[in-house]
């Protein structure tokens, strides 16, 4: 059949030649400029040869050098890395356990616990921060890196659990039964079969938590002691006494680190050969 000739005019009608969606493009450009210009400025001026924060006068690594000779900032960096690492391990261990418990516990309690678990995700961080501070003060605990770790772990467990929960729910219960059928105890079945199956999601959530905690300011600000302070808090304090371009260098390094980590978190599931990758929100 000769379709094109016999088609009714209605089917052939178009709204004229397609024009470029100028408005949409403009909005998109403005959006990205507003979003990334300040960050781009920080990166650019971290390589400035002069102290000026407004005029770029040639490329230099002097501010990076200055940072690596600044013992206070280095101390803060060390503390932030330490806090992030401990918070990552602590919240992953507890979060995975919570996810397993929430999915497997049959009964009303699991539902309530699941709801309560979501609360930290929607509570304004400043409320969590103030609450943690009041708690530590009330208990007479000295604020130091330990209190920051505890607060960060408390805050991060929910993220791990949210990511892991759907993965745990998607596990085939027969696989763990098969392990027990083949002579494994309950604990061995968990260690040899269930945790390996969850490994991609566990690693992804670990990297995410590390990045979130490393960058965190609010909770750290309320729960840290005086010396050393986490990097984010230290930078804030430093800025109050006048902005040094060293801060730009630190900011650029943090940015690079965060991008690497988030990239890693997204890439991990692919490295394990899972199709489609991992959605950080649903963990699927």
């Amino acid at each position: 059949m000769n379709l094109p000739a016999s088609l009714p005019p209605r089917a052939r009608r178009r709204r004229g030649p397609r024009r470029k969606p100028v408005f949409a493009i403009a909005v998109t450009v403005v959006f990205f400029v507003l979003l990334y210009l300040p960050i781009a400025m920080v990166v650019l001026f971290s390589f400035n040869a002069q102290k000026s924060l407004t005029i770029f006068k040639g490329f230099s690594l002097r501010w990076y050098e200055a940072f690596f000779h600044d013992n206070v900032l280095l101390g803060s960096l060390g503390m932030s890395l330490e806090v992030s690492l401990v918070a990552m391990i602590g919240s992953v261990v507890l979060g995975v356990a919570l996810a397993l418990g929430l999915v497997r516990h049959k009964g009303r309690l699991g539902g309530y616990a699941g709801l309560i678990m979501m609360v930290p995700l929607i509570t304004p961080e400043i409320v969590t921060g103030v609450a943690s501070l009041l708690l530590f003060k009330g208990l007479g605990v000295t604020l130091d890196s330990g209190t920051v770790m505890i607060a960060e772990i408390t805050f991060s467990i929910s993220y791990v659990t949210v990511i892991l929960r759907s993965r745990v729910a998607a596990l085939n219960p027969e696989v763990e039964e098969a392990a027990m059928d083949l002579g494994a105890t309950r604990w061995q079945a968990l260690r040899l079969v269930t945790l390996p199956a969850l490994l991609p999601a566990i690693l992804a959530s670990a990297v995410l938590i590390f990045a979130l905690v490393f960058d965190d300011f609010v909770l750290a600000y309320f729960t840290t002691g005086v010396d050393p302070q986490p990097l984010a808090v230290r930078i804030y304090s430093a800025i109050r006494f006048g902005v040094e371009p060293t801060i730009n260098a630190v900011g650029t390094l943090m940015l690079a680190g965060s991008i690497t980590l988030i990239g890693l978190a997204l890439a991990i599931p692919r490295l394990f050969g899972r199709r489609g990758g991992l959605d950080l929100i649903s963990g699927e």
């Binding site: 085939n172 027969e174 696989v175 039964e177 098969a178 392990a179 027990m180 059928d181 083949l182 002579g183 494994a184 105890t185 309950r186 061995q188 040899l192 079969v193 390996p196 199956a197 490994l199 050969g273």
Partner: protein, 360 residues
């Protein structure tokens, strides 16, 4: 094979299982002999999988005891029982290679590495997975995954192998092939197989004995021939393949259909005169020609002709609203033009022995 005086491989002693107040399994009494291929057959929800899980240790009986080779294992967890399971989903360990999947149980038992390698290798050959040892389960086809699951269980040389609808996920052709292979493997290794299925063909083809389950009870337990040819209940008659059920009144060795003929069914002393009964007869037991001498013959009208390759099924009306199916083989001698058409009146012959009379 029937259970001998020897200790049964599996004994279920008045086993019941309740879930939230409703019975999944009721007062089950079952002996499964060593070396037997035993099937639990029934529709979904009949309690067959629950029964299997209680033997495997994945479900605790509410009442009664599970005995394996005479030993009470009711309180033992799965890892302490000398049984292994082939799960319906196969439940393979995706992060382990085929060889490591199969060797998992031996490794847990602390079998020396060289022996593990040897036994895994032998098992890979048995289930015809040569060359797949280092592959990951995800890269295998459904049939191959099924073989891995079977090998993983068999390599432990359990006293009893439990199979939970292991062929359900395979396509028809592969399923037929695996049925034959499974049966061969079972003969080769001599291990007791307890096989759960809802497919009556599968149960008939493979089993030494079949227990037909319904509503948490065993309706009938016997050889495939027993349960197919001599069903003891309406349920078994209906579940084991197509069966005609015709209602009428029993009187003096016949069943009088309402508005139709009286069907001679032979003397049934256990049935009261004048009581309402159902007559059940299999479609392939009805003759449409070449009657034997002395065979009861009744008239009917062809209502439908259903051709399905090797056989043709006729739906024949005996009385208003009473239709039976009759199956004819399309053998070399049967020609197309010999087939009856709708509306024709035919004679149906049968042997009263093949009639099952069920009182209400």
């Amino acid at each position: 094979m029937t259970p001998t005086a020897a200790t049964p491989a599996v004994r279920l002693d008045h086993v019941s299982k309740e879930f939230n107040g409703s019975h999944a399994v009721r007062d089950l009494e079952l002996d499964i002999a060593a070396g037997e291929f035993f099937s639990l057959l029934g529709p979904s929800g009949c309690g067959k999988t629950t029964t299997l899980r209680m033997i495997g240790g994945f479900a605790d009986p509410t009442e009664g005891a599970v005995l394996l080779s005479g030993e009470d294992v009711t309180a033992l967890p799965p890892n302490k029982r000398n049984v292994n399971t082939v799960f319906q989903s196969y439940a393979l360990f995706d992060h382990l290679s085929v060889a490591d999947n199969i060797g998992f149980g031996l490794k847990r038992k602390g079998v020396p590495k060289p022996e593990i390698r040897e036994r895994v290798g032998a098992m890979i050959d048995l289930v015809q997975l040569g060359g797949m040892a280092e592959r990951k389960p995800r890269t295998l086809s459904g049939g191959q995954r099924q073989r891995v699951a079977l090998a993983r269980a068999l390599v432990n040389r359990p006293a009893v192998l439990l199979l939970d609808e292991p062929l359900a996920a395979l396509d028809l052709k592969l399923r037929r092939q695996m049925q034959v292979e499974l049966k061969q493997i079972q003969r080769e290794v001599g291990i007791t197989f307890v096989f759960v299925t809802h497919d009556q063909d599968e149960a008939l083809t493979m089993s030494d004995r079949v227990a037909v389950m319904n509503g948490g009870r065993v309706e009938q337990c016997g050889t495939p021939e027993d349960v197919y040819e001599r069903p003891e209940s309406r349920f078994v008659a209906a579940f084991m393949g197509t069966s005609n059920l015709v209602g009428g009144v029993y009187r003096d060795g016949t069943v009088q259909l309402e508005g139709g003929p009286a069907l001679p069914v032979g003397r049934r002393p256990e049935i009261g005169e004048g009581s309402q009964v159902d007559v059940s007869i299999r479609p392939e037991k009805i003759w449409l020609s070449d009657f034997e001498p002395g065979m009861p013959v009744v008239n009917g009208v062809i209502r439908e002709t259903v051709y399905s390759g090797p056989t043709t099924t006729y739906l024949i009306e005996l009385a208003p609203g009473v239709t039976v199916a009759a199956l004819e083989q399309n053998t070399a001698r049967a020609r197309m033009e010999d087939r009856w058409a709708g509306g024709e009146t035919v004679e149906l012959g049968y042997d009263p022995e093949h009639c099952l009379v069920l009182s209400h």
